[in-house]
């Protein structure tokens, strides 16, 4: 692309954990206000950012709150006065700030929060489980899962660009699997400041900025005569986000090279596949490896790595999955008491497939809960169950727990 030739877009490669990669992205995005409160696995992001600021690499307000509730409120209010704001948390900490999360969405404040996915206590557990980030799924947030540290870094930039777009102005949650991504060190390419400035325009809340020169109040108390209209506005913003997301990836590819074939999900070995697994986050690595090995044995299997959960890419995903005979949905969460006693993603995808005249067979796998590892063998087992469904075998139940001690 022409733009890529004008300026240098890539700076250097560094060995970074997922958390450090996000911190570097926050530096590159020239964030104005960072509010922090420690909880593992998110903590390393705030640690890294405090060092980046202390080293003089970023000029930002760094505020340590007394709790996640205050932490999120600080970032939310900073966003309202026109500061690009960042915060993050994990597990129960994320839930403790829930009120501020809900309000940030209704008030349409485009903060970017990191969710280092962590199981919800009790028992106290550090390991990854997706229920913390999924808890805000109905609240009017943009939610996506990163698979690698590189992708996480790039999606801080992409995320701010989408969230802050005048047509959207919704808060953005960037989810990362605890430990497997947050704490794993990989070589990460850092873009140059010039390239980032070209990609990410300055934050401008425009006529909605809270400022003495622009006297407004936000978040009023209202009666039943306004709430429905506010919800309807939120939905419209989420609808408009689809177009903005498409533009954001197109522009990103234009500046940084062809990095993303499609915004919402990445297909792997699906061209002639009859059976695929769908999942979010780091399960992509063992799942893709298992697919490769099964391909070597002649099985037509592939993997769909779902990146965006909100807005849910129903049309795009339906058009993709329609091509297969069987779909295995991997959930790193469990939806207690849900219609099929399966995972959250299962219900979303089954609902998404419902309008099809001929629907692929669906199987669901509950796996990797509380940080339990998901091996290549586990993924092969999931493929085998999905392939039996492809063949019309009804011996397996809709939902199988993979990796639980029996």
């Amino acid at each position: 692309m022409a733009l890529a030739q004008e300026i240098q877009v890539w700076d250097r490669e560094e060995l970074l954990t997922g958390c450090q990669a996000v911190a570097q992205a926050v530096r590159l995005a020239d964030v104005d206000v960072i509010s922090a409160y420690p909880i593992r696995p998110y903590t390393e992001v705030m640690d890294s950012l405090s060092k980046i600021i202390a080293d003089g690499q970023l000029d930002a307000e760094y505020i340590i709150a007394d709790s996640e509730h205050s932490q999120f409120e600080i970032a939310k209010h900073a966003s309202a006065v026109g500061a690009r704001s960042f915060a993050g948390s994990s597990g129960t900490g994320w839930m403790y700030g829930f009120e501020a999360l809900v309000v940030a969405a209704t008030d349409r404040l485009p903060v970017l929060f990191l969710v280092g996915n962590r199981a919800l206590d009790d028992p106290g557990a550090f390991g990854v489980e997706h229920n913390d980030a999924l808890a805000i799924r109905d609240m009017g947030w943009l939610i996506m899962w990163a698979t690698t540290a590189q992708e996480a870094l790039e999606h801080v930039l992409i995320g701010y660009r989408i969230a802050e777009d005048k047509r959207v102005r919704m808060p953005m949650a960037l989810a990362m699997d605890g430990a497997f991504l947050t704490h794993s060190q990989h070589m990460v390419k850092l873009p140059t400041g010039d390239a980032v400035r070209r990609y990410l325009p300055p934050y401008d809340l425009g006529e909605r900025r809270l400022h003495p020169d622009n006297p407004i109040s936000i978040a009023p108390q209202v009666n039943e005569d306004w709430v429905m209209e506010l919800r309807r506005q939120n939905w419209e913003a989420a609808r408009r986000a689809k177009q903005v997301i498409a533009e954001a990836y197109q522009e990103f590819n234009g500046i940084f090279g062809p990095r993303y074939a499609a915004p919402y999900f990445t297909e792997y070995l699906t061209d002639d596949a009859d059976t695929v697994l769908v999942g979010m986050g780091t399960v992509a690595m063992p799942a893709r490896t298992a697919a490769r090995r099964l391909r070597d044995q002649g099985h037509k299997v592939g993997y769909v790595n779902l990146r965006w959960f909100r807005p849910f890419p129903s049309e795009e995903l339906r058009a993709c999955l329609e091509r297969f005979k069987a779909v295995g949905v991997i959930d790193r969460d469990f939806a207690h008491g849900s219609p099929d006693s399966g995972g959250v993603l299962l219900h979303e995808i089954r609902s998404c497939l419902y309008p099809l005249r001929e629907r692929p067979a669906v199987r669901n796998f509950i796996t990797g809960l509380g940080g339990r590892d998901i091996s290549i063998g586990d993924c092969s087992r999931m493929f085998e169950i999905a392939m039996r469904a492809r063949d019309g075998d009804t011996a397996d139940e809709l939902v199988t727990w993979i990796g639980v001690r029996e």
């Binding site: 008030d107 102005r169 936000i218 005569d225 429905m228 209209e229």
Partner: protein, 384 residues
């Protein structure tokens, strides 16, 4: 058949009173073999001092409870009332319970031949000069008495509650019958004077009921705001402040056009500009910023926004300079300072006439549980 009763009351001061009236209508009706239920209008904020609020009671002789609930309970406000009770007569000037609601007539819901039942010592023509004109006739009944004002968690036992029940039986026996009211009060309290208070109000209201014709009342001066569709207002729950300006004079300050709150007051401050020493205290201490600096180092007051809290009269160091006066004595919210400027002597005479010679002690005790009291009045000189 459904009978709908609404009880218009003032936030905090009359919440318990309204709730008891609504609840007792249901209990009495059920003892008469009818079905009923009662609720408060959920959109109200009855914890705000003096704000106009509503309680409802619904009664039916023939419907199943679920059907009555579906007809009445699923709605947040009612479309029509057979009886609209008003437990503070200053609400006849209109009610504005929240923003974007507008100031609505107190008789807005009263159906043809229905009844507006007001606790008031005023003559009926003193009330209908504030009510909205209707295309049909309805009845106006009054219960002799002052507004019974108490607190959110306390109830002033001054027999207003019993008297309103007796009055409802008088204006619409299809809701509750007077015999049932008396029997209920006796059974519940074993106190004959309570049943007697209900009966006396019943008899009195039968005498004090008049018909309001379409010729009576006023063309309603307030518009009802139209709520915008979802795409026609700002996103992000933003409320834009009115344009700022700080010119001297009436209306000099920026105020919220969609929620004025003036219908919250039962009394308004009458100002003797000629006595003012420009101490600024009224302007400074008014919790609702209703005072506007004007020429001559005086302070005008915006009655549309005044909630009648009395703070200005309290802090004013000059005797007789600011006095709180019954809101029903006034037809207009126009600037008193402009009146004073155009005709200083005429204004002062007018103000003194409105103030009268008696000064009332507030809060006044309207009853003891055994008798209904007149307001205690004191001569201006004794107020210190």
């Amino acid at each position: 058949m459904i009978k709908r009763v609404e009880i218009n009351y003032r936030g905090i001061f009359q919440k318990t009173l309204a709730k008891r009236i609504g609840g007792d209508i249901v209990i009495i009706a059920s003892r008469m073999g009818k079905v009923g239920f009662s609720n408060g209008r959920y959109s109200d904020s009855p914890e705000r001092n003096g704000i106009p609020c509503k309680y409802f009671a619904f009664v039916s002789p023939d419907l199943e409870e679920e059907e009555l609930e579906a007809e009445c309970g699923a709605k947040l406000d009612i479309d029509e009332a057979d009886v609209s009770v008003v437990v503070d007569d200053t609400m006849v000037k209109g009610v504005e319970p929240w923003g974007w609601h507008g100031v609505r007539p107190i008789n807005e819901k009263v159906v043809e031949k229905g009844c507006l039942l007001v606790v008031s010592r005023k003559r009926h023509d003193e009330l209908t000069r504030f009510t909205a004109r209707t295309p049909y006739s309805y009845r106006l009944a009054t219960i002799d008495g002052d507004a019974s004002l108490a607190g959110l968690w306390v109830f002033k036992d001054d027999l207003t509650h019993e008297r309103v029940l007796g009055a409802i039986a008088a204006v619409d026996p299809a809701i509750i019958a007077i015999d049932a009211v008396e029997a209920y009060l006796l059974a519940k309290t074993k106190q004959e004077h309570r049943a007697r208070a209900a009966r006396e109000a019943y008899d009195a209201v039968l005498r004090q009921t008049s018909v309001v014709t379409p010729e009576q009342g006023i063309a309603w001066p307030h518009e009802t705001p139209e709520l915008p569709p979802w795409h026609a207002f700002e996103e992000g729950a933003v409320v834009r402040a009115p344009a700022r300006h700080f010119e001297m004079g009436p209306g000099g300050q920026s105020r919220n056009a969609s929620f004025k709150r003036g219908t919250t007051k039962t009394l308004r401050p009458v100002i003797r500009f000629d006595l003012c020493i420009s101490c600024t205290l009224c302007w400074l201490d008014c919790p609702d910023e209703c005072f506007d600096p004007v020429e001559g180092r005086l302070y005008d007051v915006s009655y549309a926004y005044c909630v009648g809290c009395g703070k200005c009269a309290d802090v004013c160091p000059i005797p007789e300079c600011i006095v709180m006066v019954d809101e029903l004595q006034f037809d207009s919210d126009a600037s008193p300072w402009e009146h004073y400027r155009s005709d200083p002597d005429g204004y002062t005479r007018w103000a003194e006439e409105k103030k009268g010679t008696a000064r009332y002690a507030y809060p006044h005790v309207t009853g003891t549980g055994f008798e209904i009291r007149e307001r205690e009045s004191v001569a201006p000189k004794d107020l210190g």
